[in-house]
């Protein structure tokens, strides 16, 4: 919409954005998984992913982003909340206090000895909620222009 009224040449931004988008997303996923023992986690990872999405939004426009990534961010928020609450709730069925997490060491193919922790599912919920909320807000402002 904007580009019709004011044609600008943003080839550099657009080309760079496509590459940088993936770099940011990969870094955010790394941050997300790092979160359990080191700095990082669902909130920061989610914010970084949404910043990547905002970069796409800036370089192109909201219509393009919608065709490329047809995601309903409100549903994403709901899914995230459901995952987070579900992981907290599971301990109730085992007669343990709410929010108690379970973890164990597993031997995974290729990755070797790894600990798996239900907290990662909780964090995944947070990750989705953060992306969902941020993008919903940005779209609410952006779309009405």
């Amino acid at each position: 919409m904007k580009r019709k009224s004011k044609p600008v040449n943003d080839v550099i931004l657009q080309t760079a954005a496509i590459i940088i988008f993936f770099i940011i997303v990969i870094f955010s996923i790394d941050l997300f998984f790092a979160g359990h023992y080191s700095p990082g986690g669902g909130f920061i990872g989610g914010l970084m992913t949404s910043s990547a999405l905002v970069l796409l939004l800036l370089a192109f426009d909201s219509q393009t982003l919608k065709t490329v990534l047809p995601i309903d961010y409100r549903l994403m928020t709901a899914t995230g909340l459901l995952i987070a609450l579900g992981t907290s709730l599971h301990s109730i069925f085992w007669g343990r206090p709410f929010l108690t997490h379970a973890y164990d060491k597993f031997h995974l193919p290729l990755l070797g000895e790894q600990t798996l922790h239900t907290a990662i599912a909780f964090d995944l919920g947070v990750y989705l909620v953060v992306i969902g909320v941020t993008m919903t807000i940005i779209q609410t402002i952006g779309e009405s222009e």
Binding site: R74, L75, T77, A78, L81, L82, L85, L89, I92, G95, R96, P97, F98, L99, T100, H101
Partner: protein
């Protein structure tokens, strides 16, 4: 069932999250919201029963030991308030089902209402002061959504002020928590109650206490901090106003109740005098507003302030009798304010005007509405044996026992002003001749709308008539506040 205290928080949350997946399926949303609330009500009644038999229930989230992890504490005070707020949310949602149009309900209305309840129940249940802040934010966020729903110009304009006040209050809350943590090194209420008396420089605690009273007073509309209340509440649609008026200010009052009795009552008389002066001023300004306005919503809104003042006066006296009175009056006021707000909302919906001079003669066409309002008005003013009476009686006698005279008389006088202000609505609104044909949007639905209001009023009347039967519960709720050792032992057991 060690997880019992969490259920009144989790059930509405789970229902709200599932409802987020289908914002436009209004019928399913209504059914789910009502179902979840009924379930929550049953669970919270069971919680009251359990607490009355087994004493204070605590839950250490994630199995982290008490002073270090997040603790939920359901003593009788919080269990009773959780039950009351769930009950009235149930009736308000029932009212809202008939009140709103489908297009309005499709905007995450019930989701926000349930999340509001999550926050309120959480704030009542939580056992540490930082989570009090978190749950405050949960219900504030929902209240922001509820207050802007509809998006009329006036609504948005007032929402900005509401938001601004609350953001600043929240920042102050964080600051107070930070200061408290720096002095004591803990945020668990029970642990704080144990450590605060050991601190040498009690003046620091007094300063922090004042900050907390400012923070909670902003939510509870204490006098110098009440300026946002009338404007923000008057623009909200009726069911939402009923929830706000009945729940939000009361959470602020509850927080003062809890923190003042548990943490800040041991250090001199300054805080007590401070709270007492604010309470008296609040009653005074509330009285002035209640008799001054001609707008029915504003009259009831100023009545909130009178109630807050009366309850806080009882807290500031801080004896077993006066605290029992405060709690009794708090629960009464939550029920009756919801009833009254729904009733005046119906009056406005029928007459298409909020001003008393445009009303009149409503009782000939809507007798049920009129008599419901009459009983609710008497109950609010505290005519025995309706529910408003016993709370005030206990507060006044508690104050008298401490040798006070001025404030108890003001409390009694406030009843007179309350009676005057609501009878003004009754006389000008329901008596006399109808000024014109009332064709407001709610007129055809009045019969259906009045049912939940009537039932909630019936609960409130039963609460008054059953005062003798409820009294043991109230006494049990106040015991841990008067002697905090009970609370501390329950939380930090072993």
């Amino acid at each position: 069932m060690i997880n019992l205290p969490i259920f009144p928080i989790v059930i509405p949350a789970l229902a709200a999250i599932i409802m987020m997946f289908m914002p436009k399926r209004v019928v399913i949303q209504r059914a789910m919201a009502l179902g979840a609330l009924v379930l929550t009500l049953i669970v919270s009644l069971f919680l009251v029963h359990t607490v009355s038999i087994d004493g204070i229930q605590t839950l250490n989230l994630g199995d982290w030991m008490a002073p270090f992890g997040i603790t939920l504490v359901s003593d009788m005070l919080s269990a009773l308030l959780v039950t009351t707020s769930t009950l009235l949310t149930l009736f308000v949602v029932w009212f809202a089902v008939h009140y709103f149009f489908e297009s309005y309900e499709g905007n995450y209305l019930y989701v926000a209402m349930l999340f509001l309840l999550v926050g309120v129940n959480g704030a009542f249940t939580t056992g540490d002061i930082f989570n009090l802040f978190v749950f405050f934010e949960v219900f504030l966020m929902s209240s922001y959504v509820l207050i802007v729903l509809g998006g009329r110009g006036v609504q948005l304009r007032e929402s900005i002020k509401y938001l601004l006040v609350n953001i600043i209050a929240s920042a102050l809350f964080v600051m107070s928590v930070a200061l408290l943590y720096s002095v004591t090194g803990t945020l668990n209420l029970a642990d704080l109650a144990m450590k605060i008396p050991l601190i040498e420089n009690q003046n620091v605690i007094t300063a922090i206490g004042v900050m907390f009273i400012i923070v909670f007073g902003m939510k509870g509309a204490l006098v110098p901090l009440h300026y946002w209340l009338p404007g923000a509440y008057v623009v909200a649609p009726t069911p939402i106003l009923a929830m706000f008026g009945a729940l939000l200010t009361k959470v602020g009052v509850y927080s003062i109740f809890r923190t003042y009795t548990l943490l800040f009552d041991g250090n001199g008389t300054f805080l007590q005098t401070f709270l007492m002066v604010l309470a008296v001023l609040t009653i005074f300004i509330g009285m002035t507003g209640a008799i001054a306005y001609n707008d029915v919503k504003l009259i009831i809104i100023y009545n909130i302030m009178i109630a807050v003042g009366v309850i806080l006066y009882g807290i500031s006296v801080n004896t077993q009798t006066s605290l029992e009175g405060s709690l009794y009056y708090l629960i009464h006021d939550m029920l009756i304010k919801a009833v009254l707000f729904m009733l005046v909302g119906m009056m406005i919906g029928i007459t298409k005007s909020g001003l008393l001079r445009d009303m009149g003669g409503l009782i000939t066409r809507f007798p049920m509405l009129g008599w419901t309002f009459f009983v609710a008005a008497l109950s609010l003013a505290g005519i025995p044996p309706l529910s408003g009476f016993f709370g005030k009686l206990l507060i006044v006698s508690g104050g008298m026992d401490e040798g006070e005279l001025f404030a108890p008389i003001l409390v009694l006088l406030s009843s007179l002003f309350v009676l005057f202000s609501v009878m003004k609505i009754f006389m000008y609104g329901f008596w006399g001749e109808a000024k014109r044909e009332y064709d407001g949007p709610l007129a055809p639905f009045a019969k259906r709308l009045v049912i939940p209001v009537f039932l909630l009023l019936a609960v409130s009347v039963a609460y008054g008539f059953g005062a003798e039967w409820i009294h043991p519960y109230i006494t049990q709720a106040i015991e841990p506040l008067v002697s905090p050792e009970i609370y501390i032992d329950a939380v930090l057991k072993e």
